[in-house]
Symmetry: C2
């Protein structure tokens, strides 16, 4: 017989089951003992009535400390007042391991204290809920692309040349070949994939050695990067909004309990449905001016600028056609206005800023080569990338979505560090 | 209207469609021109009859070189002799980009030549098929675990201490914290996850700086590592065989065309159904002796030994209870016989060797600490890991499955390098 987990209790109401898990907390009231077990899939209250169990079993209740491992056997009873809808009338209890005094208690702890104990902190209901939302985000992204005929193309983590200076790259010695650098984006490889498979997505960890200590920076973070042959900027925005709708609606549907536990006001998340508003960079600048910000055309939008723009909307907003000067060399210029690139950023509402950055790519060989020279990039390192414009070059577009930023926004977190199981930051490499 | 891809032609038989893609090859026969377009989802033949199209369109056929990008419009016609079941009677053709002379031709090329052009080689039907099988393997693994209530726990890529010597670790400078090492396995983090979520899987790239040039080594490869609280070795083997069955049967079902193109004899793959044979290490040694191999009890099985053992079976075989000395420090000893560890390796048939390695983990604090000391490992680096035995320690088990080895086996490849889009080996870091 397969093991029963707490999240399955609705399937076995009225039956006798044995649950395996850990003590979340306990209390006594007269001749009744209450304990809350967690088993990783949920929480359930066990009720032990004196007289209904042997003295021995009753005594074991006293022994249990927070996070002690135990099994409890009993009858599953529907209980409306219980968060999960069920309780267990306990008839037997077995101790598996008595935990030492657990360092994480309901009192307030500092962030460093908790981060040093991240391997234990994961057991707390709040962290537990966040990471289940993370799983849902990743699962729904893959579902979205798999269901639309995209092929997964894993980009390499080790990349050869340092493209735009080494200051934000992690470097490692690579046998007799000199140095390898950890990828900052799989996009260029995704473009090669799109020419082979038509529609692809890259999904993996990426790395930035930025000396930044803000709440919006991790040195190691995950990104999904779709790339589609024959897509233009408009198709790219269609794809981005459809994906966002799928991801957010899937979390609202399948992670409602977690979002409730996180006390997330989901009003603005409910609004994430295609079509999303699309404004040009020029219109974004107008919004800034109207709000009294002395923003100069040609600059990139900073964090505050993004917040001011996104506050005008009750859902994510797409800002497109940025000045080419502030965007990457591989972005195609707008044929209608070569001063702007066919780029799009998606800004999340509620001050969460950019969650997606994308563009239509330059598909003309000469234009791309010129751009590489203008940026003083080593042409030899991009020769393979130029091949994609030598052999059957077609319009194509893609974008990157940061997983931790997305999870952080959906959960309503203050800091990216809670959106990944074991965060890595400039000052943190453990546990 | 959404774009039509070649794999969707069966939905639009008899209708007029426009396809976007690249020229795979072409030929003439009297007044008829044939061209094969690939669009990343499949291949389809277009038929152009002189007189049915304008002279101009007919002339464009001559212009098209291998890998040139074009669109063709025409009527979808069922054609039994065609591999995909359909052909297109072309009424219009537009050239998007004429490719330079394509370097990869139907003639034989050396592996280095092809690997240097990996970004183009991906377009060849064989590489295309392999990587679609890879996608299926990854998709079916995630489906398997997601469908069984597992939570995805991404382990960190940057890890702090060099556990067992630095010789096979990639190292990178990490700000003021000294060095970070690229992960070789997410297992220890998976164990922390299992204590928080009950059932988890880690899925990501792992790294080994082995100076090995064999066909079975990559410096960067992907692994899935499930870990389950309350599972023992036997449960672990149940999980491994159920997962293998799901993955292989899913490839046979959904990637039949690709396996056919690869000329894979699928007889032994059809056999991958639970239960799989389970033998002890002792029984494996007996098999070796019966086959005239002078194998000494206590050694680890080498590649040849694995091949000899696996040749006795027409499906994967699980070998369990290895001598503890040749296995990792964290593996639990068999209470019945402390000389052996509760480890299991799964050997693929047809000489593909180990695809899974796993074990029940040591859950006793004192035993684990003793093992860490015996192996001269720095205790401070494992203090967080020991915490998992301080606070509610329970039996648990897990395993790791190498993605490239699995893809290589399912596709029947000679070398792991074809089982990943952009392979990294001791002598290869490009493109």
């Amino acid at each position: 017989m397969s093991r029963i987990y707490i999240e399955q209790l609705h399937e076995v109401a009225g039956q006798q089951v044995t649950l395996h898990g850990w003590l979340y907390n306990k209390r006594s009231s007269g001749k009744i003992r209450f304990l809350v077990m967690r088993d990783g899939t949920g929480f359930v209250q066990g009720v032990i009535a004196k007289g209904a169990v042997s003295e021995e079993v009753f005594a074991r209740f006293d022994e249990l400390t927070q996070e002690s491992a135990f099994t409890m056997t009993g009858t599953v009873r529907a209980e409306k007042r219980s968060p999960g809808g069920f309780e267990l009338d306990v008839t037997d209890l077995t101790i598996l391991h008595i935990a030492h005094e657990y360092p994480i208690t309901p009192k307030e702890h500092g962030t460093d204290f908790l981060m040093d104990r991240r391997h234990l902190w994961l057991r707390s209901s709040r962290q537990h809920a966040i990471l289940r939302v993370r799983h849902q985000v990743i699962k729904s992204i893959r579902e979205f692309f798999d269901g639309r005929g995209f092929t997964l193309v894993d980009a390499p983590i080790f990349t050869p040349a340092a493209c735009e200076g080494t200051s934000t790259l992690f470097e490692t010695k690579y046998f007799d070949l000199g140095s390898a650098y950890l990828t900052q984006s799989g996009q260029l490889y995704g473009e090669a994939g799109a020419m082979a498979f038509g529609k692809v997505y890259v999904f993996g960890p990426t790395f930035r050695a930025e000396k930044s200590k803000t709440r919006r920076h991790l040195t190691e973070f995950w990104m999904v990067e779709p790339e589609v042959a024959f897509n233009d900027l408009s198709d790219n925005m269609d794809l981005a909004e459809a994906m966002l709708e799928h991801v957010v609606q899937s979390c609202l549907k399948d992670r409602a309990a977690e979002l409730k536990l996180l006390e997330r006001n989901t009003a603005m998340l409910e609004n994430v449905k295609a079509p999303l508003p699309r404004i040009t960079y020029d219109e974004a600048v107008e919004i800034l001016h109207k709000n009294g910000i002395a923003f100069e055309w040609g600059n990139d939008l900073g964090g505050t600028d993004e917040t001011v723009v996104s506050q005008q909307f009750d859902r994510p907003v797409m800002v497109h056609r940025y000045p080419a000067e502030v965007k990457a060399f591989y972005m195609k210029r707008d044929p209608q206005n070569p001063k702007v690139a066919l780029a799009v950023d998606v800004l999340a509402p509620e001050g969460y800023g950019e969650i997606i950055g994308g563009s239509q790519r330059e598909d003309d060989f000469d234009a791309l080569l010129g751009r590489i020279k203008e940026h003083n990039l080593p042409q030899s390192a991009f020769d393979w990338y130029l091949d994609l414009r030598r052999y059957g070059s077609v319009p194509h577009a893609g974008f990157g979505l940061g997983i931790e930023r997305t999870v952080s926004w959906i959960c309503g977190l203050d800091h990216l560090r809670e959106a990944i199981p074991f965060p890595r930051m400039i000052y943190r490499l453990t546990p």
